[in-house]
């Protein structure tokens, strides 16, 4: 394991060097809040930023993503044949991603990148991406990442983990992708591993201890699906829900999408958009029948999927990384932590 010391004064210079090879993404203040954005020339990520409203999932799984095009001009040989659109998959790096947000990509992979099925759009974007995480030294009150098998220093899906030690970052180089990015930045001040690891371990313990928010889900595995599905509390939980898509769109692990075709004159594009199980349309059949007609059914679906169906199917923990975005942004304050406790009790 290589650990590089980066003087913060040299950080931006290093990023500029990396731009020759990488498209950079990071948190930028837009109006009054932070969003993950592609960084233009001389734009640097705000490493001190609080959480971005939306998770970084859009870097690899955009809200609207073109997939295929077709030419409808019958005079052309290739008419009506869908062809993959050209997308730029040259290397990109996400800077300062929270370690648990990065872990969320591992969860998305379970859906998009399996032995049997590989979603080319996700896989190509994922392969092109280097995740440069920033350990969370001061977790916020919404952060319950340590309760869901990740945490403020989780390295599971990072290529580099940066640890802020005041005037400098310690960069723990985890993968070859990470190694390449760090060397392209010109950061090469290798530091004594033992000392650095000790510092990191201290900060990690401190951060984990600072997490005030927890959820328990230890009993979920022992309950049957039907027991939870038929539990008496769903109507009460769902009462206040307005069925907007906020929770699913801000979530780093929600992966559902809808495919649309649009045609203009002789050209057609097929693209996909994030979809939300909160919407009635999500499950409406062409016949008009809707298996999730009521809002209680839709609210139950979201929580059952994250906290029961997913863990049962994949045996990889909950479909939640404890970022707290849905808790913070839900317009009516539906709180997944509370619901998880209710399901677990």
């Amino acid at each position: 394991m290589k650990i590089i010391k980066i003087d913060k004064k040299e950080w931006e210079q290093g990023l500029d060097k990396s731009r020759k090879e990488y498209h950079l993404f990071g948190a930028v203040k837009d109006k009054d809040y932070y969003l993950i954005q592609a960084l233009g020339d001389k734009v640097y990520p705000d490493m001190e930023s609080s959480d971005t409203i939306l998770s970084p999932k859009s870097v690899i799984f955009p809200q609207t993503e073109k997939m295929l095009t077709a030419n409808l001009d019958e005079a052309q040989d290739n008419h009506h044949i869908m062809e993959r659109v050209e997308t730029d998959y040259s290397p990109r790096a996400v800077l300062g991603i929270k370690p648990y947000d990065a872990k969320a990509f591992k969860i998305l992979q379970l859906n998009f990148d399996t032995e049997e099925f590989k979603d080319p759009y996700f896989c190509d974007a994922y392969a092109a991406t280097t995740l440069v995480g920033l350990a969370v030294n001061n977790p916020g009150q919404f952060d319950f990442s340590t309760s869901v098998d990740t945490g403020p220093f989780d390295e599971t899906d990072l290529d580099v983990l940066l640890i802020d030690t005041g005037n400098e970052y310690l960069a723990k180089v985890i993968t070859d992708k990470g190694e390449n990015f760090i060397s392209k930045c010109g950061f090469d001040n290798q530091t004594d591993e033992k000392n650095a690891l000790e510092t990191i371990s201290k900060l990690k313990k401190k951060a984990e201890k600072a997490i005030v928010s927890t959820v328990s889900h230890d009993k979920l595995n022992g309950k049957t699906i039907l027991e939870l599905y038929n539990a008496p509390f769903w109507d009460d939980i769902a009462f206040s829900c307005i069925n907007c898509g906020t929770c699913t769109y801000v979530c780093p692990t929600c992966w559902c999408f809808d495919i649309q075709d649009e045609t203009k004159d002789k050209s057609c594009i097929r693209f996909r958009n994030w979809d939300t199980c909160m919407s009635r349309l999500f499950t409406e059949h062409a016949s008009g029948h809707n298996p999730r007609e009521g809002k209680t059914q839709r609210v139950r679906q979201r929580f059952m999927h994250k906290l029961k169906y997913f863990p049962d199917k994949y045996d990889q923990g909950l479909m939640c990384v404890g970022c707290g975005r849905c808790v913070k942004h839900c317009p009516v304050n539906i709180d997944i932590r509370e619901i998880c406790e209710q399901m677990n009790s």
Partner: protein
């Protein structure tokens, strides 16, 4: 604790005990600072969870059409704007007046949570209020601020703080605000050139994620299928195309013409802090200027877009 909280709890208990209503829709304390969770109390024990605070900015009238299983009356806590949306529901035949037991709440305004959050670099950990003073704390500092300065913009220009329809009141009526220029914000946009206006609304909607929280938080938006959700025919594209996003916002606004009470629930709900009232405010101004109409004041009045008068303004017809 807000002085209304205890009164609401007692009134709700009484209402439930006496069978004046089968349930009471109100708010309970949220799980995070500055959050209130819409809640229905079905018995006296539940009523102990009802609260009031200056963060109860959502519009409870929104929940009325969704209640299907209720033999008796539905009780509802209604501040000024909620009561106006109840009137609108009655006028539009969504619900019978006889079906409701309205606990009116004279309101002194709701706070702008996003503006308060901007006072802090870190997260707010505590929020409480004493009269007109808001006490807001984070890990690093504490602020005592004057509530009137941190009201939501719709509350700043509100002239109907008192409920317009009720069976019982939580407190004495409050004094209504006299607003010198109710539509200064709209006039500012009206003074712009076409290009400036276009750019203003471009910028306004650029971060929209189409979660439809604005629509779903709005008591007016009760269509069984919204035009954006129609698939045969599909009226509007579903991607993140700016013209599709704007089409949604324009058409939603049109559907609120002469109906909007400027309750601010749409902006309150928006996760991206988009000031969507910029669309509906223009229509409210026109309703007032052209038809001398403010929505939801009187259950015996039909709305202007629902009636014809020989003297309706028609100078737009060439």
């Amino acid at each position: 604790m807000h002085t209304y909280t205890e009164k609401i709890q007692n009134l709700a208990k009484d209402v439930l005990k006496q069978g004046k209503a089968e349930m009471v829709i109100g708010f309970k304390q949220g799980t995070i600072p500055m959050a209130a969770n819409p809640f229905v109390a079905k018995n006296e024990n539940d009523a102990d969870n009802l609260i009031w605070s200056s963060t109860c900015g959502l519009n409870l009238a929104n929940y009325l059409p969704g209640i299907k299983k209720c033999e008796g009356k539905i009780g509802i806590i209604a501040k000024g704007c909620d009561s106006r949306n109840i009137v609108t529901h009655i006028v539009e035949n969504k619900i019978d007046r006889e079906k409701l037991y309205i606990i009116g709440l004279p309101c002194t305004g709701m706070v702008d949570k996003k503006q308060i959050a901007l006072l802090f670099d870190d997260e707010i950990t505590q929020f409480s209020e004493e009269g007109n003073t808001l006490i807001v704390k984070s890990e690093t500092k504490e602020e005592k601020i004057n509530k009137q300065e941190y009201l939501r913009s719709n509350c700043k220009t509100c002239t109907h703080r008192n409920p317009v329809i009720y069976d019982e009141l939580v407190s004495d009526l409050v004094e209504e605000q006299i607003i010198e220029d109710q539509f200064a914000d709209v006039k500012k946009i009206e003074a712009m050139s076409s290009e400036e206006k276009w750019d203003f609304f471009d910028k306004l909607t650029e971060d929209c994620i189409r979660c439809y929280a604005c629509r779903n938080a709005c008591p007016l938006c009760y269509c069984p299928t919204c035009f954006v959700d129609e698939s045969g025919p599909q009226w509007v594209g579903k991607g993140q195309n700016t013209d599709d996003i704007k089409t949604f916002h324009y058409l939603r606004a049109y559907h609120c013409a002469g109906r909007c009470t400027d309750c601010g629930a749409c902006e309150e709900a928006c996760p991206m802090d988009i000031k969507v009232r910029n669309f509906t405010r223009k229509l409210n101004k026109d309703s007032l200027e052209l038809f001398n109409w403010e929505a939801g004041l009187d259950i015996s009045q039909r709305p202007p877009l629902d009636t014809y008068q020989p003297d309706d303004p028609d100078d737009f017809i060439m």
